[in-house]
C-alpha cells in the first residue's frame, strides 16, 4: 500500500477527537510531523511500565489494549492510543499490541512540542477539546 500523502494524512487526522477543533491548515501542520508506521500482528507498539514518547492514530487494523495480560479494548480505525503521552512523561499503564496488520500515524512528543511552540492556536484548540472532555466527565 502506498504511503499516505499530506492531504490523506489530514483527512485521517480530521477523524481524531483530540484534534477535532483544529482547522485544515492546522491539521496540515500536525500531518507534516506525523510518520506512517506499520506493525505486524503481535508486535508490541508500547508496553505498560515503560516510557512512551508518541501518540498513535490507527489508520488500518486493530490494536489490542491490555493490562496484566487482560485485553481491555481494541482500538480501531481513527482511534488514538497514547494520547496522554503527549502531555505526560509518566510510564504507560497499559500495553498496546497489533492484533493484526496495523498501520498507524505516529506523532512524537518532541516534534509535537516544537509544533505547538510556533502555533499557539493549535495548543489552544487541543486545550479546548481536553477541557470539553473533562467537563463532560465531571458533569456526567
Amino acid at each position: 500500500m502506498a504511503e499516505l500523502n499530506l492531504v490523506e494524512k489530514v483527512i485521517a487526522l480530521e477523524a481524531v477527537e483530540l484534534l477535532r477543533s483544529l482547522s485544515p491548515d492546522q491539521l496540515a501542520r500536525v500531518a507534516s510531523i506525523a510518520q506512517e508506521v506499520h506493525f505486524p500482528p503481535g508486535k508490541v507498539i508500547f508496553e505498560a511500565g515503560k516510557d512512551v514518547d508518541a501518540l498513535y492514530v490507527v489508520l488500518d487494523g486493530s490494536v489490542a489494549v491490555s493490562r496484566g495480560g487482560e485485553v481491555l479494548a481494541h482500538a480501531q480505525q481513527n482511534e488514538v492510543i497514547g494520547a496522554w503521552a503527549l502531555f505526560d512523561d509518566e510510564p504507560m499503564q497499559v500495553t498496546a499490541t497489533a492484533a493484526e496488520d496495523v498501520r498507524v500515524l505516529k506523532i512524537s512528543r518532541s516534534d509535537f512540542y516544537e509544533l505547538l511552540s510556533d502555533n499557539i492556536e493549535i495548543a489552544a484548540g487541543i486545550f479546548s477539546t481536553l477541557v470539553k472532555r473533562f467537563r463532560k466527565l465531571v458533569e456526567g
Binding site: 504511503e3 499530506l6 492531504v7 483527512i11 480530521e14 482547522s23 485544515p24 491548515d25 496540515a28 511552540s117
Partner: protein
Amino acid sequence: MLEAACAAAGKLKNRVYLPALLGLLANWRYRGCALAALTAYGVRIAGTLGDILQDDTAPPSLRRQIPRVLRSIREQRSVDVLLASIGDRDVSVRAAVLRALNRLREDAPHLEFGPQFVTPQILAEAKHYCQLHAALAPLAHDGAHRAVRLLRRTLEERSQQTVERLFRLLGLRYPPQDIYAVYRSVVRQSPEDLAAAVEFLEGVLDRPLRRVVVPILEPAANVAEKAKELFGIEYPSPAEALRELVRSKDPWLVACAIAAAGEAGLSALVPEIREIQRTAGAEVGAVARTALAALAEEEGRAWRN
C-alpha cells in the same frame, strides 16, 4: 544559564548581542527571555526588527515573533514598522502584525495608526474575501468527495480569518471596542445581531469602506453580485475554481485543490498538476503524484468502457 545571559544582554543593550537574541526567538524554550531582552533594548532596535519582519527569506516562525517584541515597545516607530508589513504576503505574518497593532492601539491610543496604510489594506482584504467566496461557491454542493470537503473547509476557514483581519484593520481606524463588539456579532451570525452590526457600520464607516465592507456581511447571493460589481470577480465553474487554486502560491490550497481534482476526475487539470509535480516541494509533489495516478486510472476505465 541562557536565561541569565538574555537578561544581562537586555540590561547592557549592546547591539553585538542582537543576532544571538534574535536566534533564540526561534527556540521555544528560550523565546520568553529573548522577547523580554529584545523589548528592553527599546525603540533603538525597531528598524532592525522591521528589516527581519520584511525579509521574506527569513523563516516565518521567526518573523511571526517580531511583532510580539514591537507591541511591547509603545512608540510611534513600532507602529510605523508594523504598518509597513500590514500587507505581507504570508497571512500568518499579516495576522501577527495586526494583533500587535491592535494591542498597541489599546495600550497607547495616542499613537498614529496611519489611515493611508490601513484603508487600502481593508479594501485588499475585502477583495480577498470576495475571491475566496467565488472559489468556494462552485464547490458548495459536492459532498461526495473527501478532498473537496477538505478544500471547502479550508476556504471557509480562510474566509473567517479574512473577516477577522478586516475587523482588526477597522479597529485601527474606528473605536476598537465598538468594532470588536460588531465583530463578535458577525461571528455569532444571529440575524438580529447581524442587522445591528450592519446598521452600526453603515453609520460609522466612511463611504468607500462602507461600500465594500457592508456587503461582506450580507447573504451569499448578494456577496456574489457585489463581488462582480465592486471587483469584477466572475464566479467560475468547479474546474475553473480548482485551476485557479492550483495556480495559487499557497502550498496547502494547492495540495487540497490537486487532491480534489484527482478525486473528482477532472482530467482537464492534468497539465497544471504535472507542472506542480515537477516544481513543488516533496509534500505537495506527493499529492500531485497520487492525483495523476487517480486521473490516469479514471481515463483507463473510461477507455475500457
